[in-house]
């Protein structure tokens, strides 16, 4: 099969490393060759962060380039727009509708663009937007945004629910498992 590409984008500190760890575990358990590439260090301090997840029969490059992503999973709306050029034609965006002002907006030298979901849709991209922060809080913790997003992403994958649950169990602490399972279901079953 052709190599598939998933980009996970967000703001440093939002929990994207756990999301990529879980996806990597899941795809490996399905027998795929997998590469996951992340950036550590300075950009993690509240900057724009991106993680690449690639899987298929044989994966060479660890990174995803412009026009190559089958999925962009975004923790924050502006970040979905920033990384849009990386989306493949007909690619799918799954995004949190949460907005976090970057420093240039906070200091007033730039403006946060309005109506981004519709602007993304206008480019022909398929956009699935949901308020993951509210759903995460409903599940029991504002920190579960990453799992809500993965739950929503699972909607587009032809993989047994069992496999997702096993990866969840392997990657989150036991005491938070029930809460994360709930977050996963809330994301998965969200009705747009």
């Amino acid at each position: 099969m052709e190599t598939k590409n998933i980009m996970i984008v967000g703001v440093g500190g939002q929990g994207s490393l756990l999301a990529s760890k879980l996806l990597g575990h899941l795809l490996m358990s399905q027998g795929y060759d997998v590469k996951v590439s992340e950036v550590h260090g300075m950009s993690q301090r509240g900057g724009s962060v991106v993680t690449y997840v690639r899987y298929g029969e044989k994966v060479y490059s660890p990174v995803i380039d412009k026009g190559e992503a089958d999925y962009i999973v975004s923790f924050e709306l502006l970040e979905a727009a920033r990384w849009l050029p990386f989306l493949k034609k007909d690619g799918q965006i799954v995004t949190n509708t949460q907005q976090i002002d970057p420093m240039p907006v906070i200091t007033g030298v730039a403006e946060y663009p309005e109506d981004l979901v519709n602007k993304l849709k206008a480019t022909g991209a398929k956009v699935d937007a949901l308020d993951c922060l509210s759903l995460a809080e409903e599940a029991g913790s504002s920190k579960a945004v990453n799992i809500v997003l993965l739950g929503r992403l699972s909607h587009y994958f032809d993989l047994p629910e069992e496999a997702w649950m096993q990866s969840l169990e392997a990657n989150v602490p036991a005491k938070f498992l029930d809460m994360n399972k709930k977050a996963f279901e809330l994301g998965k079953n969200f009705a747009n």
Binding site: V36, H40, S43, G47, V63, G108, K119
Partner: protein, 584 residues
Amino acid sequence: MEKNANKQLMLGNKAVARGLYEAGVCFISSYPGTPSTEVTEEAAKYDEIYCEWAPNEKVAMESAFGASLAGRRAFCAQKHVGLNVAADPLYTMSYTGVNAGLVIVVADDAGMHSSQNEQDSRHHAIAAKVPMLEPSDSAEALEFTKLAYELSEKYDTPVLLKMCTRVAHSQSIVEPGERTVPDFKYEKNIAKYVMTPANAKKRHPIVEQRTADLIAYAEEAPVNRVEMGDTKIGIITSSTSYQYVKEVFGDSASVLKLGMINPLPVKKIKDFAAKVETLYVVEELDPIIENHVKQLGIEVSGKDLLPICDEFSQTLIANAFGKEVPASSTIEDQIPGRPPVMCAGCPHRGLFYTLKKNNCTVLGDIGCYTLGSAPPLGAIEMTLCMGASIGALHGFNKVRGQESEHKTVAVIGDSTFMHSGMTGLANVAYNQSNSTIVIVDNSITGMTGHQQNPTTGYNIKGEPAGKVNLEALCRAMGFERVRVVDPYNLDECDKVVKEELAADAPSVIISRRPCALLKYVKHNPPLNVNTDKCVGCKSCMRIGCPAVSMKDGKANVDFTLCVGCNVCSQLCPVGAFESQEKEA
């Protein structure tokens, strides 16, 4: 498809750590630096390996050398610029050789994701005349680590293992193996290990012979691998560039994949060149393989097609070779940038606000606090390398005298101060410049992800350890004026900075408060803005806190980020920030 039964998805750096475990390494000493840090952190999880954080890379490498001399396999890791610090022992260890195997990771950062320059450490391998291996994924990272120890002992040399960000910080599949521990006796050998001029003179020809032997090895080494495909295009490549080349060309080009980057083979390259119509070298950063090929009198294309600056990707290579690249779309709106910022509650913020308010010229250093150069604080005016703030301040004050002495400061973190700030401080004390040095002590090495250091009182495993007392150290060096301030207290900060800049004597200000991200730090509840009181004057916006923004003309606090540090409320002229505890 096979089911990946015994295999693991592993970070490149973790795979190196696994290789160290399997190779029977007994001693590791490193200084953290992105993208090399996780090698040592992951190795420290194996109880069989002694691991430590050293104050700097030079000390780490010398300690590793001592362990090798004593007869146990040893290791140290650093980022590219860290190898500059450790270059002194490295270049002479090339002459002494080793007893038990000694392997050194150096991690380059093409693209400068978290670095101050984009130097190519292959130059160090060539200049120090030591072999360098270069893996292209996690499986090779594990395999090459073990191979490096065999080469180190067989050829009596330290071996460099070169990582780069995309190999170090990418996960791919590896198959772990078993650990075996070789033991070598220590024997006194003055001619080999005491590098006086007379002894070193005898060792140099041995180094040259070793390089010749290693070239012979490179001709046959399985890590220098030919993958013949279509012969119209032949590409010599290594590291992550190999992965991009395979992604773009598959079998539609022939590839010579070099796993050993120093010394480079001669015959193998000539043979490969003879089999292909047009020869290319695809390598990130400097044209090192390319220049070698040209020296052999072979026509080759490389940096005429591909850039020296920044990292590569599959699309960059496809573009350079005139291949089609995928289309992509954008929206019309300008997307505001999202640069990294000091975290909400970062103790450095109050200090930089104070320095800016006092119109100080700030010479900075390497760490999270380098972010004090970013708007709206924009306080730092120079950052060069680890420890440079203090040396630079001394020179600055010596030539500008009184004009700068009462308004210029150096700002350096606790870990960076222990790394290479102490010697600069000794120079200020010795050669007497009226300099004011601020040590921002957040009780951790922050930027690289929370590593312990000699001032924290804990070792790499989090167990109690020795603790350097910064105040006592500065006094012992001859500083009579040593002050400690809490950067969350703006009035106190302002008073102390004014007093120490005014004084006609060198001084040290220790701005002390633990990093807000440390697990043991207890946070206050988030603040709340009383919108009836807030007059929208934006005084609170001067500190650039990511938790504070303006909403409908009033200040607004993001409760998911705010840790209640109260720095913003000290700037508010009308007392609009309220603790949620008070409300209840």
